[in-house]
Symmetry: C2
Subunit: 236 residues, 2 copies
Amino acid sequence: MTGEHSSKQYDMDLETIRSKVLMMGGLVESHFHDAMSCFRTGNAEQAEAVIQSDLEVNRLEVSLDDMCSHLIVKRQPAANDLRTVMATGKVITDLERIGDESTKIARIAKESQNGRRVNSMFNGHETVRVLASSVADMLHQSLDAFARLDDAKAVQLIAQDAIIDNDFRSIMRNLITFMMEDPSTISYALNALWVAKAIERIGDHAKNIAEHTIYIVEGKDIRHSDYVAVKQDQKN
Amino acid sequence: MTGEHSSKQYDMDLETIRSKVLMMGGLVESHFHDAMSCFRTGNAEQAEAVIQSDLEVNRLEVSLDDMCSHLIVKRQPAANDLRTVMATGKVITDLERIGDESTKIARIAKESQNGRRVNSMFNGHETVRVLASSVADMLHQSLDAFARLDDAKAVQLIAQDAIIDNDFRSIMRNLITFMMEDPSTISYALNALWVAKAIERIGDHAKNIAEHTIYIVEGKDIRHSDYVAVKQDQKN
């Protein structure tokens, strides 16, 4: 996958890990989706189910980290193979964090009962709906890029995160206006604000997954670099 | 350090990495301290300096990750040695995230110019001062526990994080009251709320460092487990 290999067995072990990671990815995607629908409907039972289902994600993190360590000890991979294992380990961490953020959304949904309630002017879920669907799309694409080792797509995704951050800031301004115009909406607006923050962080983790994918494919650690800006310029 | 070793050279390489990680730890500690004093004084120049100094932390993360990979490839460590390297890699990630949170605090300090301003009733910095000092202390102790591989201390620190989370929630209730009583304080109170959130997250990362330390010393991955609760019961 990333150059010549020390052993065929290594490939098989790595593929087992990669497919488990993608399964974990599918799981956190659906938890995020469920958490958002709880925030819309205010269904406390469903919210509790999302919170409980995060335990499975946590178990996956621990067992996958363990599988990565065993792979390294057993197969003693060469530098370029080790790179893939290390980056896969980082993807696992990001997926677990995404699970945590979905759990936060579910907790808020459970406490606030309903993102919609309050008054005809204010709809907590509505303020974050568009952001949530762009981030859900970004997360799906980042897992796709990781699955196919598509570094070109990964570069696009990293650039996309800046748009997400802008959307988050405008939601915040929007909510501040609501709070000032009608202080009775403050605690509801704050719930929406925490949900928006959690969604924005899920976008950050999706971006990290894209960065790890580029590291696997190109062997470049592009974190904190202007790599993406440069790539974008090359396109224009 | 964690059992018999494959090579003396391995010990020396690992010690080089560990001392660099502790240096990185000292750096993020001082950035957190400086960011908080910016939020108190509203000194925009100092805030900008904190934001710039995070670049050094980012460079350290990339180069230390690289050193860990090289160590594994060059020394092909046995399972228990590899455990130390992997956990050290996770400590590096947590330190970089702490740097990010301090940068957020500095950005807010820069934008809001002064955490104190507004009115005689509301003092943004004052609302988070105690939380900030408990978290600064927790961070320092977690780096200490990592440096000395003190798993007993690490257990105490993990238990401590629950107190931090409670303090954060009471600050939030406190700020909501302020906003409701005087809507003109809303945007200032939100700045204080974001700062409180960043501080609370630094506490989470300090807790992670304590968990990684226990993993290095005892070889147990206690994340998402009731390990600490059990240890605490044993003490009583």
